[in-house]
Protein backbone atom coordinates (compact mmCIF):
# COMPACT_ATOMS: atom_id res chain seq x y z
CA UNK A 1 0.00 0.00 0.00
CA UNK A 2 1.44 3.35 -0.97
CA UNK A 3 1.48 6.61 0.97
CA UNK A 4 -1.43 8.03 -1.02
CA UNK A 5 -3.62 5.08 -0.11
CA UNK A 6 -2.57 5.29 3.54
CA UNK A 7 -3.59 8.93 3.61
CA UNK A 8 -6.91 8.22 1.91
CA UNK A 9 -7.65 5.35 4.28
CA UNK A 10 -7.07 7.44 7.38
CA UNK A 11 -9.27 10.21 6.09
CA UNK A 12 -11.99 7.82 4.90
CA UNK A 13 -12.62 6.65 8.46
CA UNK A 14 -13.31 10.17 9.67
CA UNK A 15 -15.43 11.11 6.66
CA UNK A 16 -12.89 13.65 5.42
CA UNK A 17 -12.58 12.47 1.80
CA UNK A 18 -14.05 14.25 -1.17
CA UNK A 19 -16.43 12.28 -3.39
CA UNK A 20 -13.74 11.95 -6.03
CA UNK A 21 -11.11 10.75 -3.54
CA UNK A 22 -13.54 8.21 -2.13
CA UNK A 23 -14.41 6.95 -5.60
CA UNK A 24 -10.73 6.56 -6.45
CA UNK A 25 -9.98 4.74 -3.18
CA UNK A 26 -12.75 2.19 -3.70
CA UNK A 27 -11.83 1.66 -7.33
CA UNK A 28 -8.20 1.00 -6.43
CA UNK A 29 -9.28 -1.35 -3.63
CA UNK A 30 -11.04 -3.63 -6.10
CA UNK A 31 -7.66 -4.22 -7.76
CA UNK A 32 -5.64 -4.59 -4.56
CA UNK A 33 -6.56 -7.21 -1.95
CA UNK A 34 -4.41 -5.66 0.76
CA UNK A 35 -5.94 -2.24 0.25
CA UNK A 36 -9.43 -3.78 0.16
CA UNK A 37 -8.80 -5.56 3.47
CA UNK A 38 -7.60 -2.37 5.11
CA UNK A 39 -10.55 -0.47 3.70
CA UNK A 40 -12.97 -3.12 4.98
CA UNK A 41 -11.45 -2.76 8.46
CA UNK A 42 -11.48 1.03 8.28
CA UNK A 43 -15.12 0.98 7.21
CA UNK A 44 -15.82 -0.43 10.67
CA UNK A 45 -14.40 2.71 12.27
CA UNK A 46 -16.33 4.82 9.78
CA UNK A 47 -19.58 3.17 10.88
CA UNK A 48 -18.79 4.10 14.47
CA UNK A 49 -17.74 7.66 13.72
CA UNK A 50 -20.71 8.28 11.44
CA UNK A 51 -22.89 8.16 14.55
CA UNK A 52 -22.56 11.58 16.23
CA UNK A 53 -23.18 10.21 19.72
CA UNK A 54 -20.45 7.60 19.33
CA UNK A 55 -18.07 10.10 17.77
CA UNK A 56 -18.61 12.40 20.73
CA UNK A 57 -17.91 9.57 23.19
CA UNK A 58 -14.62 8.81 21.46
CA UNK A 59 -13.68 12.49 21.51
CA UNK A 60 -14.41 12.71 25.23
CA UNK A 61 -12.11 9.75 25.92
CA UNK A 62 -9.37 11.28 23.81
CA UNK A 63 -9.65 14.65 25.52
CA UNK A 64 -9.39 13.08 28.95
CA UNK A 65 -5.92 12.51 30.32
CA UNK A 66 -5.50 8.82 31.05
CA UNK A 67 -4.68 7.83 34.60
CA UNK A 68 -0.92 7.56 35.09
CA UNK A 69 -0.96 3.96 36.23
CA UNK A 70 -2.97 0.95 35.28
CA UNK A 71 -4.36 0.64 38.80
CA UNK A 72 -5.73 4.17 38.70
CA UNK A 73 -7.08 3.54 35.26
CA UNK A 74 -9.00 0.57 36.58
CA UNK A 75 -10.32 2.74 39.38
CA UNK A 76 -11.51 5.26 36.81
CA UNK A 77 -13.35 2.49 35.03
CA UNK A 78 -15.36 1.97 38.17
CA UNK A 79 -14.44 -1.63 38.56
CA UNK A 80 -13.17 -1.34 42.06
CA UNK A 81 -15.04 1.66 43.40
CA UNK A 82 -16.59 -0.41 46.17
CA UNK A 83 -13.37 -2.12 47.04
CA UNK A 84 -12.11 -1.28 50.48
CA UNK A 85 -9.38 -3.80 50.16
CA UNK A 86 -8.00 -3.45 46.66
CA UNK A 87 -4.34 -3.30 45.90
CA UNK A 88 -2.96 -4.32 42.52
CA UNK A 89 0.72 -4.68 41.84
CA UNK A 90 1.74 -6.22 38.56
CA UNK A 91 5.42 -6.43 39.31
CA UNK A 92 6.73 -7.90 36.13
CA UNK A 93 10.15 -6.62 37.14
CA UNK A 94 10.30 -9.31 39.79
CA UNK A 95 10.53 -11.77 36.94
CA UNK A 96 13.99 -10.51 36.20
CA UNK A 97 15.31 -10.71 39.76
CA UNK A 98 16.95 -14.07 39.71
CA UNK A 99 16.55 -15.39 43.27
CA UNK A 100 12.93 -14.30 43.47
CA UNK A 101 12.22 -15.52 39.98
CA UNK A 102 13.37 -18.98 40.95
CA UNK A 103 11.01 -18.87 43.91
CA UNK A 104 8.11 -17.52 41.89
CA UNK A 105 8.34 -20.08 39.15
CA UNK A 106 8.65 -22.97 41.56
CA UNK A 107 6.20 -25.68 40.68
CA UNK A 108 4.90 -24.11 37.49
CA UNK A 109 7.49 -25.70 35.23
CA UNK A 110 7.29 -27.32 32.81
CA UNK A 111 3.55 -26.66 32.54
CA UNK A 112 4.02 -22.97 31.91
CA UNK A 113 7.40 -22.97 30.26
CA UNK A 114 9.31 -21.79 28.41
CA UNK A 115 7.78 -18.34 27.95
CA UNK A 116 5.72 -16.94 30.78
CA UNK A 117 4.67 -13.78 32.54
CA UNK A 118 4.47 -13.66 36.29
CA UNK A 119 2.21 -11.10 37.89
CA UNK A 120 2.44 -10.52 41.59
CA UNK A 121 -0.90 -9.38 42.91
CA UNK A 122 -0.60 -7.81 46.34
CA UNK A 123 -3.79 -8.24 48.28
CA UNK A 124 -5.23 -6.16 51.09
CA UNK A 125 -3.88 -8.36 53.82
CA UNK A 126 -0.36 -7.87 52.51
CA UNK A 127 -0.16 -11.38 51.17
CA UNK A 128 0.74 -12.08 47.60
CA UNK A 129 -0.80 -14.18 44.88
CA UNK A 130 1.32 -15.11 41.87
CA UNK A 131 -0.69 -15.27 38.68
CA UNK A 132 1.22 -16.81 35.79
CA UNK A 133 0.56 -16.93 32.06
CA UNK A 134 2.45 -19.03 29.53
CA UNK A 135 3.35 -16.05 27.40
CA UNK A 136 5.66 -13.11 27.95
CA UNK A 137 4.78 -9.46 28.01
CA UNK A 138 3.24 -6.83 30.22
CA UNK A 139 0.00 -7.49 28.38
CA UNK A 140 0.59 -10.93 26.83
CA UNK A 141 -0.92 -11.38 23.37
CA UNK A 142 -2.65 -14.57 22.23
CA UNK A 143 -4.17 -15.29 18.87
CA UNK A 144 -7.52 -17.01 18.60
CA UNK A 145 -6.90 -20.73 18.59
CA UNK A 146 -3.72 -20.50 20.66
CA UNK A 147 -3.32 -22.75 23.65
CA UNK A 148 -3.45 -20.78 26.90
CA UNK A 149 -2.24 -21.98 30.28
CA UNK A 150 -2.76 -20.16 33.53
CA UNK A 151 -1.40 -20.82 36.97
CA UNK A 152 -1.66 -19.18 40.38
CA UNK A 153 -0.32 -19.66 43.87
CA UNK A 154 -1.38 -17.87 47.05
CA UNK A 155 0.92 -17.27 49.96
CA UNK A 156 -1.86 -18.03 52.39
CA UNK A 157 -4.74 -20.47 52.77
CA UNK A 158 -7.58 -18.92 50.83
CA UNK A 159 -10.90 -19.31 49.12
CA UNK A 160 -10.08 -18.37 45.54
CA UNK A 161 -12.08 -17.69 42.40
CA UNK A 162 -10.67 -16.60 39.04
CA UNK A 163 -12.81 -14.77 36.50
CA UNK A 164 -12.26 -13.62 32.97
CA UNK A 165 -13.98 -10.60 31.44
CA UNK A 166 -13.86 -10.46 27.62
CA UNK A 167 -14.11 -7.53 25.24
CA UNK A 168 -17.91 -7.69 25.21
CA UNK A 169 -18.07 -7.40 28.98
CA UNK A 170 -19.08 -11.00 29.50
CA UNK A 171 -17.67 -12.47 32.69
CA UNK A 172 -17.11 -16.15 33.24
CA UNK A 173 -15.43 -18.11 35.95
CA UNK A 174 -12.28 -20.02 35.06
CA UNK A 175 -11.66 -21.41 38.55
CA UNK A 176 -13.00 -23.41 40.19
CA UNK A 177 -14.85 -25.36 37.54
CA UNK A 178 -17.84 -26.46 39.58
CA UNK A 179 -18.14 -24.32 42.70
CA UNK A 180 -18.21 -20.70 43.73
CA UNK A 181 -14.81 -20.75 45.39
CA UNK A 182 -11.97 -23.22 45.58
CA UNK A 183 -10.14 -23.70 48.85
CA UNK A 184 -6.45 -23.36 48.09
CA UNK A 185 -3.71 -24.19 50.53
CA UNK A 186 -0.76 -21.89 51.10
CA UNK A 187 1.83 -22.29 48.30
CA UNK A 188 -0.36 -24.75 46.42
CA UNK A 189 0.11 -24.41 42.67
CA UNK A 190 -3.19 -24.32 40.81
CA UNK A 191 -3.05 -24.92 37.06
CA UNK A 192 -5.77 -24.14 34.51
CA UNK A 193 -6.52 -26.49 32.92
CA UNK A 194 -5.23 -29.01 35.47
CA UNK A 195 -2.13 -30.84 34.37
CA UNK A 196 -2.96 -33.90 32.30
CA UNK A 197 -6.27 -32.50 31.05
CA UNK A 198 -6.80 -31.34 27.44
CA UNK A 199 -5.42 -27.93 26.55
CA UNK A 200 -7.66 -24.85 26.58
CA UNK A 201 -7.62 -22.68 23.50
CA UNK A 202 -8.33 -18.99 23.21
CA UNK A 203 -11.64 -18.27 21.55
CA UNK A 204 -14.28 -15.58 21.38
CA UNK A 205 -14.02 -11.89 20.66
CA UNK A 206 -10.62 -10.35 19.96
CA UNK A 207 -9.61 -7.53 22.28
CA UNK A 208 -8.46 -7.11 25.85
CA UNK A 209 -9.29 -9.79 28.43
CA UNK A 210 -9.21 -9.11 32.14
CA UNK A 211 -8.29 -11.93 34.48
CA UNK A 212 -9.61 -11.12 37.92
CA UNK A 213 -8.62 -13.14 40.92
CA UNK A 214 -10.63 -12.97 44.11
CA UNK A 215 -9.05 -14.38 47.27
CA UNK A 216 -10.64 -14.52 50.70
CA UNK A 217 -8.61 -15.77 53.69
CA UNK A 218 -9.61 -19.33 54.48
CA UNK A 219 -10.56 -18.25 58.01
CA UNK A 220 -13.39 -16.14 56.59
CA UNK A 221 -16.56 -17.26 54.87
CA UNK A 222 -16.89 -15.96 51.32
CA UNK A 223 -20.25 -14.77 50.16
CA UNK A 224 -21.31 -17.81 48.21
CA UNK A 225 -24.70 -16.39 47.38
CA UNK A 226 -23.43 -13.95 44.84
CA UNK A 227 -19.87 -14.66 43.91
CA UNK A 228 -19.96 -12.60 40.73
CA UNK A 229 -21.05 -9.58 42.70
CA UNK A 230 -18.11 -10.14 44.94
CA UNK A 231 -15.83 -10.27 41.94
CA UNK A 232 -17.22 -7.02 40.60
CA UNK A 233 -17.32 -5.04 43.78
CA UNK A 234 -14.79 -6.71 46.03
CA UNK A 235 -16.72 -5.90 49.17
CA UNK A 236 -14.91 -8.62 50.97
CA UNK A 237 -11.65 -10.33 50.49
CA UNK A 238 -9.14 -9.12 47.99
CA UNK A 239 -8.94 -8.77 44.27
CA UNK A 240 -6.14 -8.55 41.79
CA UNK A 241 -6.28 -8.24 38.05
CA UNK A 242 -4.16 -8.48 34.95
CA UNK A 243 -4.87 -7.92 31.27
CA UNK A 244 -3.97 -9.99 28.28
CA UNK A 245 -4.96 -9.38 24.67
CA UNK A 246 -6.58 -11.65 22.10
CA UNK A 247 -5.74 -10.81 18.51
CA UNK A 248 -7.56 -11.95 15.40
CA UNK A 249 -6.50 -15.34 13.97
Amino acid sequence: MNAVHESLLLRYATGALSKEEERQLFQDALDDQNLFNELFVEDGLRRILDRPEFRRRIQVVLEREPAPTSALWLLSRGWFLMAATLLLAATVALFFVSPRRQEETRGFSPFLSPARSIFSLELSNGEMVRLVLDRKGKEPVYRAGDVIRIGFRAEFDAHVALFEKDASGRIRRLYPAAADFGLVKKDQNVLIPPEGEPDSTVSGLPGPRHLRLVAVPASESPDLRDVRKLALQARRGAVGELVYVVSAP
Binding site: Q27, R51, G145, S203, A248, P249
Partner: protein, 175 residues
Protein backbone atom coordinates in the same frame (compact mmCIF):
# COMPACT_ATOMS: atom_id res chain seq x y z
CA UNK B 1 -25.77 -7.68 -16.72
CA UNK B 2 -23.28 -5.72 -18.82
CA UNK B 3 -19.66 -6.79 -19.23
CA UNK B 4 -18.52 -3.88 -17.03
CA UNK B 5 -21.01 -4.80 -14.37
CA UNK B 6 -19.98 -8.44 -14.53
CA UNK B 7 -16.32 -7.46 -14.11
CA UNK B 8 -17.23 -5.34 -11.10
CA UNK B 9 -19.10 -8.12 -9.33
CA UNK B 10 -16.39 -10.67 -10.14
CA UNK B 11 -13.75 -8.38 -8.66
CA UNK B 12 -15.89 -7.60 -5.62
CA UNK B 13 -16.60 -11.29 -5.00
CA UNK B 14 -12.89 -12.07 -5.16
CA UNK B 15 -11.98 -9.27 -2.75
CA UNK B 16 -14.69 -10.20 -0.24
CA UNK B 17 -13.60 -13.81 -0.42
CA UNK B 18 -10.02 -12.71 0.22
CA UNK B 19 -10.97 -10.65 3.26
CA UNK B 20 -13.30 -13.28 4.69
CA UNK B 21 -10.65 -15.97 4.19
CA UNK B 22 -8.27 -13.95 6.35
CA UNK B 23 -10.79 -14.13 9.19
CA UNK B 24 -12.76 -17.33 8.66
CA UNK B 25 -10.74 -19.62 6.43
CA UNK B 26 -11.18 -20.33 2.73
CA UNK B 27 -14.15 -22.67 2.90
CA UNK B 28 -16.50 -20.31 4.72
CA UNK B 29 -15.13 -17.32 2.83
CA UNK B 30 -16.61 -18.70 -0.41
CA UNK B 31 -20.07 -18.80 1.15
CA UNK B 32 -19.77 -15.30 2.58
CA UNK B 33 -18.66 -13.85 -0.76
CA UNK B 34 -21.34 -15.64 -2.76
CA UNK B 35 -24.15 -14.78 -0.35
CA UNK B 36 -23.07 -11.15 -0.25
CA UNK B 37 -23.16 -10.89 -4.03
CA UNK B 38 -26.60 -12.59 -4.12
CA UNK B 39 -27.96 -10.01 -1.67
CA UNK B 40 -26.48 -7.14 -3.68
CA UNK B 41 -27.95 -8.43 -6.92
CA UNK B 42 -31.36 -9.14 -5.45
CA UNK B 43 -31.87 -6.20 -3.15
CA UNK B 44 -29.54 -3.44 -4.19
CA UNK B 45 -29.93 -3.42 -7.97
CA UNK B 46 -30.85 0.26 -7.74
CA UNK B 47 -27.29 1.09 -6.62
CA UNK B 48 -24.93 1.23 -9.62
CA UNK B 49 -21.58 -0.56 -9.44
CA UNK B 50 -19.14 1.73 -7.64
CA UNK B 51 -18.08 2.90 -4.22
CA UNK B 52 -21.60 3.07 -2.76
CA UNK B 53 -22.24 -0.55 -3.67
CA UNK B 54 -18.89 -1.63 -2.18
CA UNK B 55 -19.81 0.13 1.06
CA UNK B 56 -23.12 -1.72 1.06
CA UNK B 57 -21.20 -4.93 0.41
CA UNK B 58 -19.04 -4.25 3.48
CA UNK B 59 -22.14 -4.10 5.67
CA UNK B 60 -23.74 -7.20 4.19
CA UNK B 61 -20.50 -9.21 4.28
CA UNK B 62 -19.74 -8.19 7.86
CA UNK B 63 -23.10 -9.44 9.06
CA UNK B 64 -22.75 -12.59 6.99
CA UNK B 65 -19.38 -13.25 8.60
CA UNK B 66 -20.81 -12.78 12.06
CA UNK B 67 -23.74 -15.01 11.22
CA UNK B 68 -21.49 -17.66 9.74
CA UNK B 69 -19.34 -17.70 12.81
CA UNK B 70 -22.24 -17.74 15.20
CA UNK B 71 -24.06 -20.62 13.66
CA UNK B 72 -22.45 -22.38 10.76
CA UNK B 73 -25.29 -24.87 10.65
CA UNK B 74 -27.90 -22.22 9.96
CA UNK B 75 -30.03 -22.64 6.88
CA UNK B 76 -28.45 -20.65 4.08
CA UNK B 77 -31.67 -19.00 2.88
CA UNK B 78 -32.51 -17.88 6.39
CA UNK B 79 -29.05 -16.42 6.63
CA UNK B 80 -29.43 -14.50 3.40
CA UNK B 81 -32.78 -13.13 4.54
CA UNK B 82 -31.19 -12.03 7.76
CA UNK B 83 -28.36 -10.27 5.94
CA UNK B 84 -30.83 -8.50 3.69
CA UNK B 85 -32.82 -7.27 6.61
CA UNK B 86 -29.84 -6.33 8.70
CA UNK B 87 -28.21 -4.32 5.96
CA UNK B 88 -31.37 -2.39 5.19
CA UNK B 89 -32.57 -1.63 8.69
CA UNK B 90 -30.78 -0.89 11.92
CA UNK B 91 -31.58 -3.82 14.15
CA UNK B 92 -30.78 -4.70 17.75
CA UNK B 93 -27.89 -6.92 16.73
CA UNK B 94 -26.23 -4.24 14.60
CA UNK B 95 -26.82 -1.72 17.32
CA UNK B 96 -25.37 -4.00 19.98
CA UNK B 97 -22.34 -4.64 17.78
CA UNK B 98 -21.72 -0.93 17.39
CA UNK B 99 -22.14 -0.24 21.08
CA UNK B 100 -19.80 -3.08 21.91
CA UNK B 101 -17.25 -1.68 19.46
CA UNK B 102 -17.46 1.78 21.01
CA UNK B 103 -16.98 0.35 24.49
CA UNK B 104 -13.92 -1.58 23.31
CA UNK B 105 -12.52 1.53 21.70
CA UNK B 106 -13.09 3.56 24.85
CA UNK B 107 -11.16 0.98 26.84
CA UNK B 108 -8.26 0.88 24.42
CA UNK B 109 -7.71 4.56 23.59
CA UNK B 110 -6.35 5.51 27.04
CA UNK B 111 -3.69 2.86 26.57
CA UNK B 112 -2.28 4.57 23.50
CA UNK B 113 0.54 7.04 23.92
CA UNK B 114 -0.13 10.75 24.27
CA UNK B 115 1.01 11.43 20.72
CA UNK B 116 -1.30 8.77 19.28
CA UNK B 117 -4.26 10.13 21.23
CA UNK B 118 -3.51 13.63 19.99
CA UNK B 119 -3.26 12.41 16.40
CA UNK B 120 -6.55 10.55 16.75
CA UNK B 121 -8.15 13.72 18.13
CA UNK B 122 -6.83 15.81 15.29
CA UNK B 123 -8.13 13.27 12.78
CA UNK B 124 -11.59 13.54 14.32
CA UNK B 125 -11.32 17.30 14.11
CA UNK B 126 -10.52 16.83 10.39
CA UNK B 127 -7.33 18.85 10.61
CA UNK B 128 -5.22 18.91 7.47
CA UNK B 129 -1.82 17.24 7.38
CA UNK B 130 -0.26 20.67 7.48
CA UNK B 131 -2.19 21.69 10.59
CA UNK B 132 -1.30 18.40 12.25
CA UNK B 133 2.35 18.90 11.36
CA UNK B 134 2.35 22.32 12.99
CA UNK B 135 0.60 21.19 16.12
CA UNK B 136 2.92 18.20 16.49
CA UNK B 137 5.94 20.30 15.52
CA UNK B 138 6.84 17.50 13.11
CA UNK B 139 9.50 17.79 10.45
CA UNK B 140 7.18 17.00 7.58
CA UNK B 141 3.63 16.04 6.67
CA UNK B 142 4.96 12.65 5.63
CA UNK B 143 6.24 12.12 9.17
CA UNK B 144 2.80 12.96 10.56
CA UNK B 145 1.18 10.45 8.26
CA UNK B 146 3.69 7.80 9.24
CA UNK B 147 2.87 8.41 12.88
CA UNK B 148 -0.85 8.36 12.20
CA UNK B 149 -0.63 5.02 10.45
CA UNK B 150 1.53 3.55 13.20
CA UNK B 151 -0.99 4.73 15.79
CA UNK B 152 -3.81 3.14 13.81
CA UNK B 153 -1.86 -0.10 13.72
CA UNK B 154 -1.22 0.05 17.46
CA UNK B 155 -4.90 0.66 18.22
CA UNK B 156 -5.93 -2.21 15.97
CA UNK B 157 -3.44 -4.52 17.67
CA UNK B 158 -4.95 -3.69 21.03
CA UNK B 159 -8.43 -4.27 19.60
CA UNK B 160 -7.51 -7.63 18.13
CA UNK B 161 -7.39 -6.51 14.50
CA UNK B 162 -10.74 -4.84 13.83
CA UNK B 163 -12.54 -1.70 14.91
CA UNK B 164 -15.78 -3.67 14.82
CA UNK B 165 -15.44 -7.02 16.55
CA UNK B 166 -15.49 -10.30 14.75
CA UNK B 167 -15.73 -13.51 16.65
CA UNK B 168 -12.86 -15.70 15.73
CA UNK B 169 -12.72 -19.01 14.08
CA UNK B 170 -15.96 -20.52 15.29
CA UNK B 171 -14.30 -22.08 18.29
CA UNK B 172 -16.41 -21.86 21.37
CA UNK B 173 -15.09 -21.14 24.80
CA UNK B 174 -13.53 -24.23 26.18
CA UNK B 175 -12.50 -22.77 29.47
Amino acid sequence: MSADSSDFFNALRARIRGFAASRLGAERADDVAQETIVVLLQKYRHIPPGDELVKTAFGVARLRMLGTIRDSARNREDAIEEAEFASAHPNPESEALLRQAVARLESVLPRLGAKCRLIFRMRLEALSSREMKERLQAKSEAAVQLWAFRCRKKALELLGGDWLPFESGGRRAER
